[in-house]
Symmetry: C2
């Protein structure tokens, strides 16, 4: 625990100062202040001219603030932010979020400003998140400094995923889309320019956090290669660490552990190195969200044998193709159903259903037949994971099937992954699966990839435990 920055005060502050809060509609200072009001914590807005914002008394300057404030969110321009951060540190505020851009990302001039922020930690011990960040969002605590958001209320659905992103844009766009079908967030952290707090601090903290079941990271550069890998390995022993390290190609940064503690090397070497440290690697933000969602919603896979249940033969065939093609890291195979399982399915379904894997129940299936088939597949010792293709066009299939599948998934120790398409209602029905506790995807390839993530995670953990 010695190395761990105790971020509890940042993520659950008792009192918050908002430097640059204003009454101006649509301004960032107003949006963030309003967001934080819903946290129910005492807020201390600071503005030289405003007297009151939404009924809260405004302080004219930072030095007029009372002592004992846990977190200062600074929402002014770059230059003023540096001065404000210094004053906050002087007031012994332990955590500071600097929202403004205009620092190292814009060139030498900004870099100089950022260096001045860096000194603050050294001189005063206050810790800084940012600059150039959307800050944090902790649904359970109603702490939210994100000033652009279009997951609407969906993002607020609390959960077990710690989502840590160097790019605010990637974070918001990825989560915004993922939230349409449900995404359980423990916390969103925008790292920004990482003048102080970085992925290593958060990785270490959330590794020990009981409310976090999966750590998902988007990073463009890793500050402490070796320490990060070591911390990831430790974290991986207890929960999945999913990493999207952008910039792997010759055009971008290179990465693998080396003496310098920086990551560099060919993609294959990186793959190997990351795997050695228990890190599940993904290649875009859709995979990052899919992997995290799957890993928190499903029990571990005990093996790589997948059964597919489908009311449409075509998707069974496509699913088999994806499973056996094995382009990904984790090899999957089509489960061979036992004689007993096949007989069980035969008895429960229509005479022309195909009882081998993929199990094709045909469009004449009913909810009951589907449920009985899922029971049989989950009972089969030769099956490790079940993918349920669910379509609502067959006349005897209803939304009740969602509950039927959810109940069996909840009772089984084996992962169940849903795949559904339903025209304009696709997201709505995926959301219903999510609300019922079943992870679901709108394409067979993403459903198969989800199975792969589970098998890969199982392989990683057994490798690092050796």
């Amino acid at each position: 625990m010695n190395n761990i920055t105790n971020l509890k005060t940042l993520l659950s502050p008792r009192t918050i100062a908002v430097i640059g809060a204003t009454n101006k509609d649509g301004s960032i200072g107003r949006i963030i202040f309003e967001n934080l009001l819903t946290s129910g914590r005492p807020l201390f807005p600071v503005h030289p001219k405003e007297k009151e914002i939404l009924g809260v008394k405004v302080f004219p300057g930072i030095k007029e603030l009372p002592d004992g404030i846990d977190l200062a969110v600074i929402v002014t321009g770059a230059e003023n932010s540096v001065a404000a951060a210094l004053e906050c540190a002087n007031k012994c505020i332990p955590y500071i979020i600097v929202v403004a851009g205009g620092f190292s990302e814009i060139g030498p001039q900004g870099k100089e400003l950022e260096d001045r922020l860096k000194e603050i930690k050294v001189k005063f011990g206050s810790r800084i998140l940012g600059p150039n960040t959307l800050g944090i969002f902790v649904p359970r605590e109603r702490i939210n400094t994100i000033f652009v958001e279009h997951g609407d209320k969906a993002l607020a659905g609390g959960g077990k995923i710690a989502f840590i992103t160097q790019s605010g844009s990637v974070g918001i766009e990825a989560l915004g889309l993922a939230s349409n079908t449900g995404f359980g967030l423990r916390v969103f952290v925008g790292l920004g320019n990482k003048c102080d707090l970085d992925e290593l601090d958060f990785l270490r903290y959330f590794a020990e956090d009981k409310d976090t079941d999966c750590i998902a990271l988007y990073v463009e550069n890793l500050g402490h290669g070796r320490k990060f890998l070591a911390a990831a390995k430790e974290a991986s022993l207890v929960k999945p660490v999913v990493l999207l390290k952008a910039g792997q190609t010759p055009a971008g940064a290179r990465a693998v552990m080396s003496h310098t503690g920086r990551l560099a090397g060919s993609n294959e070497v990186v793959d190997g190195a990351l795997r050695q440290y228990g890190i599940l690697r993904v290649f875009d933000d859709e995979e990052l969200c899919d992997a995290a969602k799957t890993l928190v919603m499903c029990p571990p896979a005990k093996g790589n044998r997948v059964a597919i249940i489908t009311p449409g033969g075509g998707y069974g065939v496509m699913g088999s193709d994806h499973i056996e093609t094995n382009r990904g890291v984790a090899g999957l195979s089509m489960a061979e159903l036992s004689h007993a399982t096949r007989e069980c399915i035969r008895e429960a379904t229509l005479p022309f259903a195909s009882c081998r894997n993929p199990v094709d129940l045909t469009a004449s299936t009913t909810d009951e037949m589907y449920g009985a088939t899922l029971d049989a597949a989950l009972d089969d010792d030769g099956v490790d994971i079940v993918i349920c293709a669910v379509f609502f066009s067959p006349p005897a299939v209803s939304a009740v099937l969602i509950a039927e599948i959810a109940q069996r998934a909840a009772e089984s120790a084996k992962p169940v992954i849903a795949f559904t398409k339903y025209g304009p209602f696709t997201d709505l029905y995926l959301r219903r699966f999510y609300d019922a506790g079943v992870v679901g995807f709108p394409s067979i390839s993403r459903a198969v990839k989800a199975a792969r993530f589970l098998v890969e995670r199982a392989g990683l953990i057994s490798a690092i435990r050796e």
Copy 2:
């Protein structure tokens, strides 16, 4: 033209008999009859007991029908369908669609019934689509026998893609989802059990059809391997042929050209064979729809050099990674922007924008800056394809940017592909791009894949023209 079945009468019949039309709400006979009513063609419902359906006089039997009917849609059970098809053939109705399942797909008993359907073509010359099919949907002609649909009105958006599917379920689910963001359909054909008309007939017909710009096929087994490949090659010379051949893995059927005229062999051999005949191969229904949509909406790619414009650096990096990883068949490369282009972008944008490819305009970009950057990229001789990442969170980006991009895409001979995420509004904004004439996708990996389809198509066509 000798080999081509003239399917015009099937796709644009002047008169249609509906055998088994009823007044019963929700029945297939009623749904199909209602669908066909909107075609404005004279309809001739046949039912032993009904007198009138939706104001149209009902005929008690097929033999009571007037002469000269172009198409009979049979909506009765399997057994009765065979008898009805025979009577229709006796009446010299040239095209018959048999909707019912319960034929070869259910085993030997059904196979026998299907054999009797097969004889009809031989004895009478009437052509049969099906059995076990959703039939056809021709948006422009308002001819629609699809009785399950959840693309809602979206599917009805006419266009240039002939979508031919052996599996009705795959067709409906794939198009239902694809339609959310726009999908231009010339025709949907459900092949069903292919007792007579099959993919070869339709491939040949749509190859010569002036209203078809792309032929997309989902097939599980190819009836005439060699003839199909030859026809595909001929078609490919004038329009893209995209094939999803399900069942490629050991678990499924095997496929490549052989003496038997059947397709069999390892995946790699199949890949090579299909490519040799100009066929663009895809691996699931999402790819099938994405490829077809991209190929009809974009001009041909002259090369493989891709430029990315983005308001968020992260997506530029991820896009570069996807482009340079080159896991797919068609190799892509990141375009190197000329000095002049970079200067042009520098002048038009903010000082801290990154003017190399990927061009990162940052979240401070405006619609105008974006437009000027796209102009510069399209003017650069070193750029073959432009991917525009568009997000609507940046404060100075508005929906106007869609029109700005669309105008430039329309005026350029180079493909422009949009990528956008916008939380719950993602599909809506992709649809806006579509309506403006720009192909768009909700993930960077699908946008890059779209570029790959264009480059692959260009490679295929130059190979077969040699």
